[in-house]
C-alpha cells in the first residue's frame, strides 16, 4: 500500500511543479533597468509601414496586434518586450539586440500550463549571437524542447521579429 501511495504521489508532485512553474518572472521595466544598467537609455516607438507589416506577418504567421511597437535604445543596443501566443496565452519575452546580433533572450512571463521550460538558460542561451539570414530566418538552428514545441516556436518567432525591427530602426532611426 505504501508503495502505491508513493507511486501516486510522484506524478502528483510533478504535476504541481508543472502548474506552478508558469507566471511572471520579471516585470518589463525591471528587465530594461537590468539590461541597460546605468547607461543612458531612451524609449522610442516604431510605426511599421505596410512593407514592414507584411514582413512581420510573414514571421508571426498572423498580423501583429498594434500599429506601433515600443523599444528602448542606448547606442547600438536595442531592447524589445514582445508578446506572442504559444498555444492559447501570450508569452512575454524580453530581447536585447546589439549590432544586429541577439545579446539576450529572457522569458518575462509565461501564462500557460505547459511549455514553461523555455524560461531556462539552456534554451534561451541558444539565441545568443544569432542573427538573421537573407530569408529573415535565424542563422542557426534552435533545438526544440519536447512538450514545449509551441512555446519554442513562439520565442523563435519573437527573436526573428526583434532582429528585423532592430535592423529597421538602425536603418531609418524611426521614432
Amino acid at each position: 500500500m505504501r508503495h502505491i501511495r508513493k507511486i501516486l504521489l510522484v506524478p502528483l508532485l510533478l504535476s504541481c511543479n508543472a502548474l506552478y512553474a508558469g507566471g511572471i518572472y520579471q516585470q518589463p521595466d525591471e528587465f530594461i533597468k537590468q539590461v541597460f544598467d546605468k547607461s543612458p537609455v531612451s524609449v522610442k516607438v516604431i510605426w511599421p509601414d505596410k512593407k514592414l507589416q507584411q514582413e512581420i506577418t510573414n514571421i508571426l504567421g498572423h498580423e501583429y496586434k498594434g500599429l506601433r511597437i515600443r523599444y528602448w535604445i542606448s547606442g547600438t543596443k536595442t531592447a524589445w518586450v514582445l508578446d506572442e501566443i504559444g498555444k492559447e496565452k501570450p508569452i512575454t519575452t524580453g530581447i536585447v539586440i546589439n549590432n544586429d546580433k541577439i545579446e539576450l533572450v529572457k522569458v518575462l512571463a509565461f501564462r500557460e500550463s505547459r511549455g514553461w521550460e523555455i524560461k531556462h538558460d539552456f534554451f534561451t542561451k541558444q539565441f545568443e549571437n544569432a542573427g538573421l539570414d537573407k530569408n529573415i530566418q535565424l542563422d542557426r538552428d534552435i533545438d526544440n524542447i519536447s512538450g514545449a514545441t509551441l512555446s519554442v516556436r513562439a520565442v523563435t518567432k519573437l527573436a526573428r521579429l526583434a532582429l528585423l525591427l532592430h535592423q529597421q530602426v538602425s536603418k531609418d532611426g524611426s521614432s
Binding site: 516585470q27 518589463p28 521595466d29 525591471e30 524609449v43 522610442k44 516607438v45 496586434k65 498594434g66 500599429l67 506601433r68 511597437i69 515600443r70 508578446d83
Partner: protein, 259 residues
C-alpha cells in the same frame, strides 16, 4: 415449493432491455444525424442560437453588468473579460476597466495595471503594461489634453507626454476624471450581440448533441454507450430472428414428417 428454473441467457430479453435503455439517446442520435446530413439545406451553419439558456451553457452570455466610459460620441465598455470600442471588440482582459479618455493623439484606456492606446477610429495601437511603475491604477483623467492616472498605495498622479512614452509626477489639480456612463437597452443589446461575436451556430449545438459533447466528457461516454447499444440491438436482433427462424423450420419439419 416450486423452484422456477433459472432462465438461461436470453438474447431477446437483453435485446428488449438495451432497446428500452437506449431509446431516447438513439432518437437523439438519429434525429441529429439526419440534421447533420442536411446542414446546408437546413442552413444550420447560418442559423444562430438565441436562447439565453444554451448561450449560458456554452459560457457565451456575459455575466454582470457592463461598465462603460464615454469619449465624445464613442463609448468604451467592459463586459465580462471583453473590452469594446462602441461594439467593436478591442481585446480581452481579466483586469478592471478604470477609465477611458481622448488625449491629444490617442484614445487611452486604463485597466488595473495596463494601458491600451487606440486610434480615433478604434484601431488598436499599443498595449502597455504599466509594470511596477504604476500598478494599482484607480482612475484615469485628462489634463491639458494629456492622460493622467491616479495610483493607490501610495496615491500618486502621473501625467504622460503627448506620445505616451514618459510619465511625470504631478499634483492633483485641474484633472478632469473619466466618469462611467450608463447604456440604454438598445446599446446594451448591441453590446451583448458583440460579446457573443458571430455567436453560436445551430450546427455546433446539433453536432455537440450528436457527439454528446454538450454534456462534456460524460456526454461523450453516454453517446458511446448509445452507439454500443445500437450495435448490440442489431446483433441481438439478428440472433433472435435466427433462433425463431430455426425453430419455425424445425416445427414445420416435425409437422410434415411426424404426423
Amino acid at each position: 415449493m416450486v423452484h422456477r428454473k433459472r432462465k438461461r441467457f436470453s438474447a431477446f430479453l437483453w435485446h428488449r432491455r438495451a432497446g428500452l435503455a437506449a431509446i431516447i439517446l438513439v432518437i437523439i442520435l438519429a434525429i441529429t444525424g439526419i440534421m447533420l446530413n442536411h446542414t446546408e439545406s437546413m442552413k444550420l451553419d447560418e442559423t444562430f442560437v438565441d436562447s439565453t439558456l444554451i448561450l449560458n451553457w456554452y459560457g457565451l452570455d456575459p455575466t454582470g453588468e457592463p461598465v462603460t466610459f464615454g469619449i465624445g460620441k464613442h463609448k468604451v465598455s467592459q463586459w465580462g473579460n471583453q473590452l469594446f470600442f462602441d461594439t467593436k471588440v478591442i481585446t480581452s482582459s481579466e483586469q478592471m476597466l478604470r477609465g477611458a479618455v481622448q488625449s491629444e493623439r490617442f484614445i487611452v484606456i486604463a485597466l488595473d495595471s495596463e494601458l491600451l492606446l487606440l486610434a480615433e477610429n478604434g484601431d488598436f495601437i499599443e498595449r502597455m503594461p504599466t509594470s511596477t511603475s504604476f500598478s494599482n491604477i484607480q482612475r484615469l483623467g485628462v489634463k491639458y489634453a494629456r492622460p493622467v492616472i491616479e495610483t493607490s498605495e501610495p496615491v500618486y498622479y502621473y501625467m504622460a507626454d503627448e506620445h505616451i512614452l514618459d510619465w511625470d509626477l504631478i499634483i492633483n489639480e485641474e484633472i478632469k476624471w473619466s466618469q462611467p456612463v450608463g447604456l440604454d437597452d438598445t446599446e446594451k443589446k448591441k453590446l451583448g450581440q458583440a460579446y457573443r461575436g458571430k455567436g453560436l451556430t445551430l450546427e455546433r449545438v446539433v453536432l455537440d448533441l450528436h457527439s454528446g459533447r454538450i454534456l462534456g466528457q460524460f456526454g461523450v461516454y453516454l453517446m458511446d454507450a448509445a452507439a454500443i447499444a445500437l450495435l448490440w440491438l442489431s446483433l441481438s436482433g439478428f440472433w433472435v430472428w435466427l433462433q425463431r427462424n430455426t425453430k419455425q423450420k424445425q416445427k414445420k419439419h416435425y409437422q410434415k414428417h411426424h404426423r
